[in-house]
Symmetry: C2
Subunit: 246 residues, 2 copies
């Protein structure tokens, strides 16, 4: 995916001194927590990290970017994951839900850092705006993939944009509940549950593109979707077999 | 709603000279189109409008705000509309769809201005960021209303956030297609169609909170939602009556 210099070298556990990029992030967060974000300058960060100003700008275009050091990598990973969809029959909604889980994984890799950043972002309007723009880029990546997969369907673009927005909202609902718990809860379970709702609402099992009746089983609800001109006996047959009755 | 000084006085057609706020917006857009957004200063705007700097800041906190002069009023209108929900039985999804239409109405009030702003926003990253933050505020207003209405339901908060995001995405899909047509198309039809998809997906007719079967008619599709433990005869009766057959 992205093995360039921007990738965090988390695998090299034998290195006593962390790579320069990680050192800059660590120094920045130490200062943001001690002094506040606005009161910390890039000069303060490079001084604490023991590097020059040019090193900072080699890794980060701005002070805001050091707060979100892994989103570019994650966006690249998400696009690669969507480009690599192996099975053309796979439910596209399932695929974008799985793509969204890459973002959760990035947050869950470092819970302490993620919680610190969550608190910082809530306090600094400039960081909230930055985060909104990042979230929008994830949403656009998902929508672009869905537009391609749904191109042949009626209202394909509309569906793509609505589903992408729903996936992002559900993911963030689960992610936020985990961050608000100070990363004490189960991040994966929270996000899986939220994405499960989107999947149940929009997933392929929910509609019948070929016109015949099709039923979806949930825990205690049966949904049957049928064309109006389907013969009644076929609809009843479908319900009976789903309910497991004669 | 909001009858304060920030409200545009569109009703006063007999006034030869437009109010100062409108004059500032008109001057700003004339300069943005002639010179570009970044090359226009607030001093340039007040000089052309023939007013002082302090007058500008009486109406607009920043240069970005003059590009989006009506969103604060529209947000206030939306919150008032949602607060005034007269019928507690009204489908909450329908209500937020209607609330979103207030935004469309604002754009449709002045098609030329809306198209100019759409093009300008696409070109200026700072304005895109501003627009994202405004869109997010609409989404939060809708989600807040839905959280209240769906509080008693399982996953009420999750549903509220997903539905709000879906409504905003659908509204913006319709709005953008109209703006891209240079306001030549039918804005209301485009947004109604997009919101119709959200309504059909999430609206109350799509589920049965009280446990009995309930059917929704579309043009050529019948959706039946039923509890698994509902008697089969009730489900069949519901389908028959919906299909209009014996």
């Amino acid at each position: 995916m992205n093995d360039g210099p921007r990738r965090r070298e988390t695998s090299d556990a034998t290195t006593a001194k962390p790579p320069m990029r990680d050192a800059l992030v660590a120094a920045a967060f130490q200062l943001f927590l001690e002094r506040g974000y606005e009161q910390t300058t890039i000069d303060d960060i490079v001084t604490l990290a023991g590097v020059g100003r040019r090193s900072f700008f080699r890794y980060f275009p701005s002070k805001e970017d050091v707060v979100f050091p892994d989103h570019e990598r994650c966006l690249a990973d998400m696009r690669a994951f969507l480009d690599d969809t192996p099975d053309a029959d796979e439910d596209p909604v399932q695929r974008v839900c799985d793509a969204a889980r890459l973002v959760l994984r990035m947050y869950a890799e470092n819970p302490t850092f993620s919680v610190q950043r969550y608190r910082l972002t809530k306090e600094v309007p400039g960081l909230r705006a930055y985060e909104l723009s990042v979230v929008r880029r994830y949403e656009r990546a998902l929508a672009e993939y869905l537009r391609g997969r749904l191109a042949a369907r009626r209202d394909g673009t509309l569906r793509a944009e609505v589903v992408a927005a729903a996936v992002v909202a559900a993911h963030n609902n689960g992610l936020r509940s985990w961050l608000r718990s100070d990363a004490q809860g189960d991040a994966t379970a929270a996000v899986d549950h939220a994405l499960g709702y989107v999947r149940a609402t929009f997933g392929d099992s929910h509609e019948s593109p070929r016109g015949g009746p099709r039923a979806k089983e949930c825990d205690d609800v049966v949904v049957v979707v049928s064309r109006r001109d389907a013969p009644l006996w076929r609809v009843v047959q479908e319900i009976e077999s789903t309910l497991g009755r004669d």
